[in-house]
Every structure is written in C-alpha cells, then in structure tokens.
Symmetry: D3
Subunit: 223 residues, 6 copies
C-alpha cells in the first residue's frame, strides 16, 4: 500500500504559467466551478501567485517521513501537495525541507496540515498554503505514499495535475483538461477587460448584463 | 418581500469622517458598547480604516444578484453591508463589482460571507471586511432586498446607519445617534491623550484611576 | 484566592535573548516537544520574534482589572501572559495599557483572549499573540491573580518562565531548564547550518539522514 | 441604559400553541424564511417542541444577574431568550433558576451562551436551546436589560414575539404577524399531508411538482 | 455538465449486510484505514447502524433540486450521499423527501450539509448522518448531477460504492473491493472475539500483543 | 522522558463517591471555580455521572501505545485521563481497550482526542468524555508517559487527583484538597435544597438573595 510512483506526466510549462497568471478565481470559473480546495487552506504570504505540477503526498498524521521521499521525485516547477490520512495541524514542513525542495526546482507547498519556520519560508520566497501554522514537530515512523491520487482539502488531486494558487486559495486543474480550461479562462479574461472599462466608466452591471427584465419578472419591487 | 428602497437618509459626511478617525474601539465604547459585529469578520487588508453610510443587502446564500442591484443605489461615501439569509462562505464579490462600486463613490464592503480577487481589491484600495475568502462563485437566480434592515454578523443595521471599520473590526452607529456618539467619542479621545502622556511617563493606571482602595476592599492580597 | 506575587525569579537576560534568537520551532524541539501553546494564538504582526520573562495573569472572563495590577509588577524584558478563567474573546488590552507596559520595559503580551487597537500596537512595536481581535471592552469588577501558575492556551506557565514567541507561535521554557534547553537548541542550530548547506547543494535528506534502508525494511515500494 | 420593561404585549395563547405544534421548519417557511436563529443553538433534550412568548434578556458576558431580574417579569407560557453582549459560553443557568422560572409558568430558555445542570433540567422537563454546556459559573456585578429588543444567535427578537423551538432549532415570529404566519403554516400543513400520502405510495416529487420540463430546459441530461 | 447516470452497478446485498454488521471501525481498519469521512458528519440518531449502495448527488449550495431527481434513481437498499459544491449548512432534506425515498427502498442519507424535521426522521427510522441540523430551506433553481463521482466530507465516493455508517461515523468501501475488505474484516472480527475474552479475564494487552520488549528497547522507564 | 510512575496516591473512595454525587457544577463552585476542563469535551452517553482517581496518560498524536501501558497501572475506581501532546481527533480507544480497563476496575475515560466503538462503550456502561468521535485508528510507534502531570483540555491534572464527570463536563479536584472541597460542596448542597423549596413555592431570587437594593444603586430602571 505504500508506494512511490516515479514517473508522472506533467502539463506544458508555458500552459501552467498562463494558468497561474489567470489566477484561482478565473481558472475555477473556467472549469465549471470544480477543483477548488476548502477555504481552510490559507497562504502564509500576501500578494503571491503561482502554478505548478502536483507531486502528491499521502502522509500519516504527525509523520513527515514521506516529504523526504517526495523531494527526490521533484522536478523544476513542481508543487508538493500533502494530505494527511487523518486531520492534523502539526508542523510537517519547515525551512530545511524548503531548502531541499528549492534545490530541486520546487517553489511551493499546499498542505492540509501545519507548517513552521513561516518567517524563513516567506524570506526564501517559498510559497505555502496550509490549514495551520504550528511549531509542533512530527515523527518519521510510518510509511505513506507519493504520487498517488489524494483528496486534499476536499479536492481530488492526481499527480501531475496543475495546481493554481494565489491569495484567494488553491484550485486543481486535471492535467488532461489544462489546455481547454486555459482557453475558457482566456475568453473570460478578454471579456473581463472590456467589462472592467465599462464599469469603471460608470455603466451598471444591471444594464451591461441586461438584468432588469428578469428582476422585474421575478417580482423585485422598487419603493 | 423582495424590495429595493431607493431613498435613504444618510448622516452628515463630516460627522462620518470624524467617526472613522475615532476608530472602532472608541466609537463602540462611546455608544455604550453596542453595535459591534462579530469578530468573525476580518479585514483583507492591514492598517486601513474607513467610515461610511450603510447600503444594506439581504441576499440568498450563494447568490450575488442583489449586489448588482445595490450598486445602482450607491452614493459617494457609501459602504455596502451584505448579510446572507443563511450562513455561506462563497465568494460574492470580486474586482469587477468593486470597479463598479468605486465608480459610484463606494469605497468598502462589509460582508458576512466570502469575497475573492483579494489581491486586486487590496491594490485598488477597496476595503473589505469579510467572514471568508473564497474563489467559489455565486449564481444570480433568487431575489433578495436592498436597503431593508438586516442583521449582519450579529449586529442590527438600518440603511443609512454609519459603518465604522478598521483593523479591530466593524461597528454600526444608528444614524440618528451619530452626533451624540461622536460627542462622547471626542470626550474619550481628549481624555485618552492626557492619560497616554501620564502612562508613557511611568505613572500607573492603579494610581491614575485610583484603584488601590477598591482592590483592597475586594480582598486582593499582595504577597 | 486573589493574590499578587511581587517577587519572582527571572532567567538571565542574555540566555533569554539567545532563546529568542533560536526561535519557537527550535526551542520547542530542544525541550522535547513540550511547552507549546495552542495554534489558536496568532500574532497580530508579521516577521516579529521576541523572548522574555513571564508575568502571569489569571483574569475573570471579560474583566481586565488585573492587567492594571500586573503592570506594576513588570520589569525590563518581561512579557505579560494572560489566561482567562473561562473562554472569552473580548478585547482586554489596547494602546493605553501597552503605553503603560512599555514605560516599564515590557515589550509583548501573550493572551488567550482578545485585544484591540491592533494598528496602534503594531505601530508602537508592541508584540501581541492573541486568540482574537475584538473591540469589545471589558469591565473592572472582579479580582484575579498575578504571578501565580496558570494554564494558557494549553501550556502550563509559572511566573518567571521564559516565553519565546515568533511567527510560528508561543513556547514556554521553565525557568530552571532555560540553560539546558538553550544548550540543546544551540546544538540543533549548529547542526542545521551544515545540513542547510548540503540540502541547498542538492543532497537529499534520504541520504543525509540515511533513510533508504529503513524505508525499504518497512515495505516502501518504488514503481 | 439598563432598563426593565415591565409591561409587554403577548400573542394569543391558542395561536402560540398552534405555532408550536406546526414546528420550526414549517413556521420558518411560512414566514418567508426569516427569523431563524443560528444552528449553533442546540437543544439539550431530544424529541421536545415548545412555543411561547419571549421575555428578552441582554446580559453582560459571564454575568447572570439579569436572569434573576427577568424571572420576576415572567408570565405563564413565557420563554426566556438571553443574548450576551459579547460571545460567552459560560453556564448562566441551572436547576435553581429553572425551578424559579417554572414556578412562574415558564417552561423553556433560549440562550446564545452556556447552561449547566443539564441532567436535572431534562428531568424537570424544562426545555433549553443553548450554544454551549458548561459548569463554569457567572458573577452578578454588572447590569443589563430585560424586555428590550435583542439580537440572539443572529435573529432580532422583540419582547412578546413568539418563540418556536424544537429539535431543528429556534425560530422567532414577530408578535403582530403571528396570526398571518399561522395561516400560511396551516396551509402548508394541509398540503403536506396530501403530498405525504402520494409520496408514501411511490409517486415521485418530479411528477407531483411537475419538474421534468424545467429540468430538461435547464439542460439536465440522463445517460 | 449536469448529468444523471441511470444505470449503476451495486455490490451483492448479502455482502453489504455483512459489512454493515462489521461496523465502521472494523471496516475502516480492514481496508487499510482509507475511505473514512470527516468526523464533522454526525448521526441524528443513537445506536443505529446501516450499510447500502451509494447513489451520489452533487448539488449546488442551498439547492436541493437534485435530491428529487436522485430519488427516482433509488433501488432497494440504497443510501443517498450528497456533497454540496461549496460548504453549506442549510436543511436540504426533511420528512417529505424521506417518505419518498423510503417508498423506493432507501433507508438512509449521508450529507455534508444540513437536514431538518429530525424528530420525524428518527421516528420514521430513516438514518441520517449530516454536518448540520437546520430548518433553513433550500431553492430549486440550479442543476447538479446524480451518480457521478463526488468527494463527500473528504472521502471519494463512486456511485455503487458500499456505504457503512454507524455511531462512529461513515466509511466508503469501493464496490470492487467489497469482498476482499469483508474477508479482512471477518478475520479481524474472529480475532477480536478471542482477544475480548482474554482481556475480560484480566490478561493485559502488553502480554497478549507481546509489547514489553519493544517498549523497553525504545527506552520506557518504570519508576 | 518516557516514564511510567507505578505508585500513585489516591483519595479515599468514600470521599470520591461523595464528590461524584455532588456533581461537576457544585464541585467546581466549591473549589473556587478552578479545575474545569474545556467544554469541547462532551460525554458520549446521557444522564451518567461518575468520579474516580486519575491515571494520567501523555500520548503522542495518533499513537495509543501508552493506553496499553496505562491499563496495567489501573486500580479499582480509577479513571484514565489522556492528553495528546498535539491536537488530534483520531480514535485512540474502543471496546477492546474498555474491556481490558473494566477488568481492572476502571469505569471511565476522559480524553482530549477521539474514541470509537461508541455504541459498544455505551452498552458496556463504560463512561467516556471526549473531544471527538472517530473510527480513525492509531499506531503504536512512539513512547509517551503514564502518571505524570498533564494539561488535559485546559486543566492541570496530577495522577491521583479526583476526576468528577457528568453531563455538564469534567472537573479535576487536586487530591490533597478533596476533603476540603467536599465540605464546601456539602454546604452548598445543604443550602441549595432550602433555596429550591423556596423558589419552587414562588419566592423570587431577587428577594431571597436581597438583590433589589444593589440593583437600584447600580442604576437599574423599571419602566
């Protein structure tokens, strides 16, 4: 049951970068409002956005042994995604592990558990979305798995899926759909720019989206 | 049941500005410790304070249609206050709606639900106090009301009430009492400055407030 | 039952400073993973670390009278640690009390309850770790105690214990063990520096810590 | 600011009894889905339903003095509704207070705070909906008010409003609307009985409510 | 995106019954500690256990339209499993829907959201595991899907998987593994009975499981 | 650091029984409102009260090895009290361990973590107060300690202290103070009976406790 899958497919780096630039809210909309992780995951830094390929970690509660195993599997541009097999807010990850991960080209961690050394992590520019901040250390006693499908903060993640993360949270884009999702995201971005200009000029959404008739039909009264 | 009240009274802008400068803690004290919203509302920005007139929104859970309706009712200096009719942490509001609201002179949102595009909102200087941050989008299917009395995060808000918000939270001042509250707030501010100087010089609150006798009467022992 | 202990022993200031520089995660590890307060205590500021001697306060819920009493007991370098006798998120502490505490050489507060005037507190450089931010004021009606043993956020604190606090949380070091803990912390710091260099150079934790054999014995499969 | 309103209007007892029999879910629907208290209020007993006239209590956190004051204001069939002025889970109420309240004809308490002696309260048949169970006692030091409008668990309550409470939670019916709400509730009850028979016989809601066309229009696909 | 899958495979009813009798704790252990839903799901009844085939529902927050659609898909012995697409504690389900579901042979609901009419549901013997109890009603405006894979309370559920639920919570057994899991569960049950007798007779787990040597090796000291 | 203290002092069984009969609320008051555990500990059974001598367990998160060790230390009338060294809601304890504990005369467990097999535990009459119910199993890999002082759910517990637990929660009475606390508890019980009769006869607490003068002095107005 404890396995490390060594060879995973990843999406095209240019595509990943574009998804990261589009941001969580836009990407989430573009893929039909699926793939969003729970809002209990919060960034430890402000005004930071990233996207990358998921290297997944299924770890026992309070045991970070598999993080060491996972780091060997990292490639440039990867993001580690860790789901404990039971709820746990202990500090699985700190500045030494981040140093090691960055040496392999990984720039971020998404974890439904705790991290520590947060000030150092921010200073290093290593992005973290976590459900807790805790100095409480973990043990290295029990196996887990690396690069198997996991459910992290309510979202299903397969290794190699694209992780998009920013101040709004974390969204998972299935690898095979990354291109199609980016197309829809681009359409949204293009449309938004025009709308933003009209709204900034004082036009109302009620008129731009032609809502007045339907509001009236449903029975809205102005008094 | 779904109504938009178009004509609401507002407090004097100069008075509103003074209440904003006094801040939440002082204003809350000045009006007898009433009107404070729950501490589950947190600002998405740091070191930011504002006051304005409430345009209230009662919205169904997961439905932000009424925000579009409310924007048409905004005047210079207003703050939108949204209470969902059932608990909900979805992202009702993002940068496009903020662009539209700012075009009408509104500079902040208080919402007992979620918002998204938080990085953009900070960059725009649009203040937000919310109970969640979530990229999860909403629908536009069910009516609510604008400018009716609402209970938001435990506080009763009438349209046109003065909303004071800063890093400590959000406080509601009933419009008719705004002047009287500001008078009491000013008295507190005046008194605090003198006390601050004495405390900074090393005098003790025990002496300034003459507490030693009452402490002794109640039975406090020094050992 | 309501007592103020006036004469407490404190650890050596140089030792306290070294513990502060080592930080919460390292100190917590060095003393066998004990003394950590609950992660519900969060700093109101970012990138701030401190250590000091605990002046403890046991206060009734919603009553901050004992804070005034405690301030008289403060010496240079102390940190106030307040535990309410029942859960409470009201704002026990604000800028006037901080002014008074700073005048006596105290630079931080750890409180399993709420604080207010947070913007001012940050501007003053007064560090706060609290379980809530709330403008809600307290009364001065009921006695508590100062410098008695308390349980704060799940950790036992004796007056004069060393409090170490940073972005990761708060850890308590019993005064009598401060020297021994710092020795172990120093050993960790020395070891970490060498490891950090090797990890930054691309060596793997799997090899540095010689984990491969034990992983294999436990049954980890690479596929 | 601390007042006791002695003379409040109440709804007709027979009407109150009918609202209680209709239950929270039906009454809440009948009045347009308003007036529901937060689901953080839970009953301490199972399979128990009641309705009565609200005697409201605004009490300081951790201070139950006003409960003693309120008991004098109770009439046959009243329900006490207590909202603390700041969040608090201490035990405001136990078997002695319940004995006193029952002697005046009151049969239940709704409280956005804690209670104790829960086993005794159940044995006495005194109904309680609370946000906490805690043995932690309160003081009698600070005034509050009785029979003023309060916001309890997110709902606005005026003295004399009808409180309906059962295993699903607590709903407030404004006194003046009690008759109209009961009419709509009765219509729902009448309609439900017929639907229940058809559903029990195996007919589908899809057909009874004629949903198939609209589902299809919206794009639902069967595969 | 909104689909209803009409033809799903189910496990053998006798096997399902045996899994239900084994119970959540045993089944969870037998399948390698996977498939457990979050402990935020709690039963509305006491001392009740069941197992059945999952009919899955992905529903928008605050919209129970798809429950009506799902009921048509129910077969004897099924359990409905509903995951909202965003967190929501509204009451999606009550006694009328339960009446309809029971008419089709369904005896239980697992829902990461709220239910109402809980007293009636208990009286009907319809089992419910939910994350909330709330009288708050839902709308019927937006489509979802039936019998697609969902993540419910942190666990991945495919339609036709076996749901085991009792007082300890809810566990999902993938349909294809149900036989193998039951074999391992049976082995545990057989072993437990012998151990229970030895433990009841006063033998210690320390001896039965031969732990003393390993405890000593790890350094446990008796003083 | 991992020790088992084998010889602990216990209070007199008759005294323990009297404390149990007095109940948590009365005992907590009698000892000056100290020793109460957090209200996050809830009983898994209803209408059940007990008292006993604490056998304490400090256990790593997700590791129940020390429970096996502790059971050997149990004597007739003991209650196990387990505090994990980091927050954890996994199921440390089930029916097999309860069988073993009962064979040694232990009748209850207080645990700031999870338990499982709750239906069986209720059927066996084994009392449990826990912060979670979860089928999630634990490992046996890391040592902890037995019969050392611990902080459990916010209360300091020494081995041999008297644990009093009922539907209201859990309270710790330091062994050396048990006699004095029971004296005060008895005085309360004696006084309460007389008050209960007067209150049941319709006398008001306002008069029995002579509160009217002080209420008036503080400024309470009747209108």
């Amino acid at each position: 049951m404890a396995v490390v899958v060594q060879d995973i497919a990843r999406a095209d780096p240019a595509l990943i970068a574009r998804l990261g630039a589009a941001g969580v809210a836009t990407v989430h909309e573009a893929q039909g409002r699926t793939g969003l992780m729970s809002s209990r995951l919060r960034p430890i830094q402000t005004d930071f956005a990233i996207a990358g390929s998921a290297v997944t970690i299924s770890a026992p509660p309070g045991d970070n042994w598999m993080v060491h195993v996972a780091i060997e599997q990292l490639a440039e541009g990867d993001i580690m995604v860790l789901a404990p097999t039971a709820p746990c807010d202990m500090g699985y990850f700190g500045d030494l592990l981040a140093t090691s991960a960055m040496a392999r080209g990984c720039r971020a961690l998404v974890i439904d558990a705790g991290v520590r050394d947060t000030r150092d992590l921010r200073a290093m520019g290593f992005g973290v979305w976590s459900s807790a901040i805790s100095a409480q250390g973990t043990v290295k006693e029990t196996l887990g798995s690396v690069n198997v499908p996991i459910v992290c903060a309510g979202a299903l993640v397969h290794p190699g899926d694209v992780i998009v993360a920013d101040d709004d949270g974390v969204c998972v884009v299935p690898r095979a759909q990354a291109g199609a999702v980016m197309e829809k995201a681009q359409a949204r971005l293009d449309g938004e720019e025009a709308k933003r200009r009209r709204l900034a000029a004082g036009e109302l959404g009620l008129d731009i989206y032609d809502m007045r008739g339907r509001l009236s039909e449903k029975g809205l009264k102005y008094v």
